[in-house]
Symmetry: C2
Subunit: 337 residues, 2 copies
DNA sequence: TTGTAAGCGTTATCAG
DNA sequence: CTGATAACGCTTACAA
């Protein structure tokens, strides 16, 4: 830990070979058997490791992928994990930054990743627009938008069928006889939150059910207290909904706590469909009906797309793909008449 | 986005000055007013930005701090945020890696950070020992252990008074008349989990209360289901505890759900002290008694220590500091007779 | 104040 | 297969 790590030059001296030969060996080139052995001995003896900074300067590649997410929470964490699982295999590594839902930080962190010379970027944007990206990103590197599109920017984009799956969830409630259906939405400046509300509206329209504005509550993603509060508000409406659709993980958690506290029985007093609530789903009784997003799949799809682009393959650019979430109906929804 | 960013050489050509002068300007050196203006014009015109990789190679500094945490969860996230707030001010940036509580990954990610040539490391270790560190870290960079010490390794270490605060929490329960006190602990290979259990034991010894082994349950940190299960187990003991101390955030969450589900009234049927459960604490009623750790303070202390070490100031090395957590008694604890 | 030139640790070209 | 050498883009004595 005290001595400075050896360089190729040191290995060259130790072995009597040239720098070029050592470098060739390090990059998988052919070397005489006896030299190979010698080099490997030297590497061990001198505790050598490549200086990735120097290599990066020379090759103009850092073998690093930058990932920008709004906040460290289970949905994004899971996607990133799955992304990493694929990418690490191929020698790439991943640097993840969150911007805490903050507009300024979102740009700053993007700039940070760019300055670290990542070879490609994965972005879950909130406020970020095409003009921002163009200002920050000056080299031509692959960029993939995930979960939400980037406004005014042409790039590969991997989304979830938020609209359709929300439609399906609400449709199930309708088909179970519900007519008074509440929804706890996310902020309408977020694409996924919009889409989920739109699905809710469309289902009402298609089934010719009028929408009671009182039943639509706007909470905050990434804040379970807002789920709690909005659920309380819904429950306190004089003519309350018979079913509530909660549109993300954290808010679902808060809503469950509200329901418990008010001593509301599920599904007898109220039917519920939550979102993405995997760990909770195992715990809560009766078992929670859920919209489940394909987080692992998202990560895998993004990773393989990225690898393709990094190889220079621009087929189908800009790719726009929607992955399917599923509605899982369990015991938290009751048929009513 | 198409053109490759300009280099200092380009600026030199544009301005007719030498590379050295441009470099001097970039690093805050004095330059003739008219040259300054010229350089700034060139930078704008050519869209120049320093190549941090090249700079890093030359200065042998990356201005980056590596942070290794077990998992992205609120306790660690909060510490990292606060750390970043300080560090970013000073021009450093932060790369955070989690190892998902995995022994192999813990070493791999440490190696990754090291290979990225971070200038210093912040580590929350689980399995990591001094011998591992010595194997991986070959340059002499500052290392700070946070929340848990590194076994067999001499370095700066910032901890929380887990033992003392757990003692105090249990003591409060005892002073409120409780004699049958349950505890939901974390895995005993984790330092903080050990300390918290030790505090519980010591309080019992000091107050001459015999410990019922049945009341001691071992869950998993970072897994709310384990909190749920262990709480159920405690409640199903024929002679159940009258109070339970739950020793981290995620397990507290699960435990609350278990209590709600079993229709146990807090604090009438059961008294509870949870851990670190800030957001929950706002929601749950009656208001939850808690052990609150000074997460922001930890981040700040670590950051300023780091900056000191990076300046080469080795005063008090190896520093070992314990920060104080607080017991906050609210309405979830009842006096019994 | 400015410029020259060496060098950080690699990779890549091109002889040998 | 191996080696000499020129880059990569920047900083930093040292000289002018």
């Amino acid at each position: 830990m005290v001595k400075i790590p050896a360089t190729i030059k040191d290995i060259a001296k130790y072995t009597g070979l040239s720098i070029a030969t050592i470098s060739k060996y390090l990059n998988g080139g052919n070397v005489l058997e006896k030299n190979r052995i010698l080099i490997e001995e030297a590497i061990k003896a001198l505790d050598f490791e490549v200086n990735e900074i120097a290599r990066g300067l020379r090759t103009n590649k850092t073998m690093t992928i930058g990932v920008l997410i709004p906040v460290f929470e289970v949905f994004f964490n899971t996607i990133v994990s799955s992304l990493e699982n694929v990418l690490l295999e191929t020698g790439y590594s991943v640097v993840v930054c969150d911007y805490r839902d903050d507009e300024k930080l979102e740009k700053e962190r993007l700039d940070f990743l760019y300055k670290k010379r990542v070879d490609a970027l994965v972005v879950v944007p909130t406020y970020l627009k095409g003009s921002d990206i163009k200002k920050i990103i000056k080299r031509d590197i692959p960029i993939v938008a995930v979960d939400r599109p980037i406004e005014d920017f042409e790039c590969d984009t991997i989304l979830v069928n938020n609209f359709e799956v929300s439609y399906q969830a609400v449709e199930k409630l309708i088909l179970m006889g519900h007519r008074k259906i509440g929804i706890i939405c996310g902020p309408q400046n977020i694409y996924t939150a919009q889409e989920r509300l739109n699905g809710y509206m469309k289902a009402h329209i298609d089934y010719k059910i009028s929408v009671n504005e009182e039943y639509i509550k706007f909470g905050e993603f990434h804040n379970m207290e807002s789920g709690y509060k909005k659920m309380i508000e819904l429950l306190e409406i004089p003519n309350p909904p018979t079913a509530v659709f909660i549109t993300n993980y954290e808010m679902t958690l808060g809503a469950i706590i509200a329901v418990n506290e008010k001593d509301i029985k599920i599904p007898d007093d109220l039917s519920i469909i939550g979102f993405d609530n995997l760990e909770m789903a195992k715990i809560v009784k009766p078992s929670l009906s859920l919209v489940v997003q394909p987080m692992e799949e998202i990560g895998e799809v993004v990773a393989s797309l990225l690898l393709k682009r990094l190889k220079g393959d621009k087929t189908d650019f800009p790719l726009q793909k929607k992955l399917n979430a599923q509605v899982l109906i369990k015991n938290s929804v009751k048929k009513i008449t």
